[in-house]
């Protein structure tokens, strides 16, 4: 379970460029729930994910994983619970290490590395098995340099890597956005398989309204650092892409009106 209590994040605090990225996010995601996160650019979607992962420190508020306060835990210590896939296919893997070396790194996620050899035949067998799920022929290219693979292939491997170690939470930050439609569909398929198989608690940021409604069981929309709506159950089942778009437009208009009011009051 993930719980965010009154989460605030401010960038460049006290400077003219100060930005309130998150402004009091309250969110509880029960174990095993798959939440899709939408919102316009700069709404705070990625900030929310990065704050939960520990890359960004919150200025105020609390983050809990199953009632354990992790607010002050550094990102590396949270990796025992969290697996991530990034938007940039190059970000999730090391280009100048081989496929098997990358997988060995992910296999050790959340564990202390020691001085035993990083690779052995047993591990290679596991990696081969996992890679064959992709049907990309990568199971025969364990020793290939990651940088030689295409973006789609790298993202597929990143996804497999995120599931090599048991974790309870999976954070997907627009992980199909940089891919062609066919590869994106493949990646989404494998994601769903893995999520179901491992009963993961998932947050998936996406720009595709279709994806947001088709996957998971709940959708939240962020706007200017706040959750402005939270859809689940029957209400969500009745929603179509155009309804979401309408909400989007509404949010934007509300925001602008608000800004205008502020200007008036400021006078």
């Amino acid at each position: 379970m993930i719980r965010c209590e009154n989460l605030h994040v401010t960038f460049n605090h006290g400077l003219p460029t100060e930005k309130l990225a998150l402004r009091g996010v309250d969110l509880t995601i029960p174990s095993g729930e798959f939440v899709t996160v939408i919102g316009s650019n700069g709404a705070g979607k990625s900030t929310l994910l990065n704050t939960i992962a520990g890359d960004i420190e919150s200025t105020r508020g609390k983050i809990l994983f199953s009632d354990r306060d992790v607010t002050n835990l550094p990102a590396t210590k949270r990796t025992k619970d969290i697996a991530r896939v990034f938007q940039d296919p190059l970000a999730g893997t090391c280009g100048n290490l081989t496929v098997e070396e990358n997988m060995a790194l992910a296999y050790g996620r959340g564990k202390r590395s020691n001085l035993s050899l990083a690779l052995n035949d047993n591990l290679r067998k596991i990696f081969k098995e996992q890679l064959s799920r992709l049907n990309l022929g990568l199971e025969n290219r364990l020793g290939a340099e990651m940088g030689l693979l295409s973006g789609g292939q790298r993202q597929s491997v990143s996804l497999l890597m995120s599931a090599l170690q048991p974790s309870s939470i999976l954070l997907l930050d627009e992980h199909t956005a940089a891919l062609d439609p066919k590869t994106a569909a493949l990646i989404m398929d494998i994601s769903s398989q893995i999520i179901e198989e491992k009963q993961l608690t998932v947050m998936m940021v996406t720009h595709s309204m279709r994806q947001a409604l088709d996957h998971g069981s709940r959708t939240i929309m962020l706007h200017e650092g706040k959750i402005i709506f939270d859809l689940s159950g029957d209400q969500r089942a009745g929603y179509e892409v155009k309804d979401l778009l309408q909400l989007f437009a509404q949010a934007r208009n509300d925001g602008e009106e608000l800004d205008d009011d502020k200007l008036l009051l400021g006078e």
Binding site: A53, D55, A75, T76, K77, T79, K80, R84, F86, L90, A91, G92, T93, C94, G95, N96, L97, T98, E101, A104, L105, A106, G108, R109, G110, K111, S113, N114, L115, S116, L117, A118, L119, G143, E145
Partner: protein, 300 residues
Amino acid sequence: MSLYAFLGTLEIGFIYGLVAMGVYLTFRILDFPDLTVDGSFTLGAAVTATLIVIGYNPYLATLLGTLAAACAGIVTAWLNLRFNILHLLASILTMTALYTINLRVMGKPNVALIMEPTMLTPFEALGIPAMYMKVIFVAFCAVIGGLLVAWFLNTQYGLAMRAVGSNKRMAQANGIVVNEKVYVGLALSNGLVGLAGALFAQTNGFADSTMGIGTIVVGLAAVIIGESLFSTRSILVIVMSCIIGSILYRVAVSMALNADFLGFQASDLNLLTAVLVALALVFPKLRREWKAKKAKGERV
């Protein structure tokens, strides 16, 4: 080249093979260009030589010299990680400070070890002529060092270190503590270089405050020559190619200096070094360009 000169070349080549491995760890593995080595090479030599002169066991003295050099690497890492000083600049600061520290350690610009016991003393009883013995001894040190470095880089910890140099964000997302790996990497790298300094002092019979100048360039040259000879993914081959690169570099330099028709003098060494390194750096790029041109030509 006389046999004697050739053995001397080999000896220096093996010693700088250790330097090259250290440079490989920072430049290639951690992506942290570290110029500290110019100072830590001398520091290793200075500490070892000074301790030997005041009566320490040469092996213990070498160990302490190596550790001192490793500490220099930690200082550079600390300046960079704790205070965000650019890595190159941080290492230049440490290197500059080390010049004074080395003079203080020795108490004078150089220490002679001619009549002192060294790591080689126990082997004198074997009856092998000293000039061969030295080469065998440093070759042994370099190869063992190379095996250890290659093994280390293939362990879980070593792989984590390679990930840090390759993609910090990915490393972090997989639970790797980035800073710790940089500290350990710089300590190891400078430790290797310090060990090379200690060996150099003992085989050549002196430590001198200026002996470290240009260490980084020589180390880098060896790494690049090694890389351009073997294109491989095997860490063991890459590490061993550092030694081979170092020896080839020495051979090239001494041939250039010894070729009478070229008219070089010993004092031309630094210019030669710079030109050789520049060639080694340019060559792989030119080769790619030629290949690309050729491929283009064939298509048309």
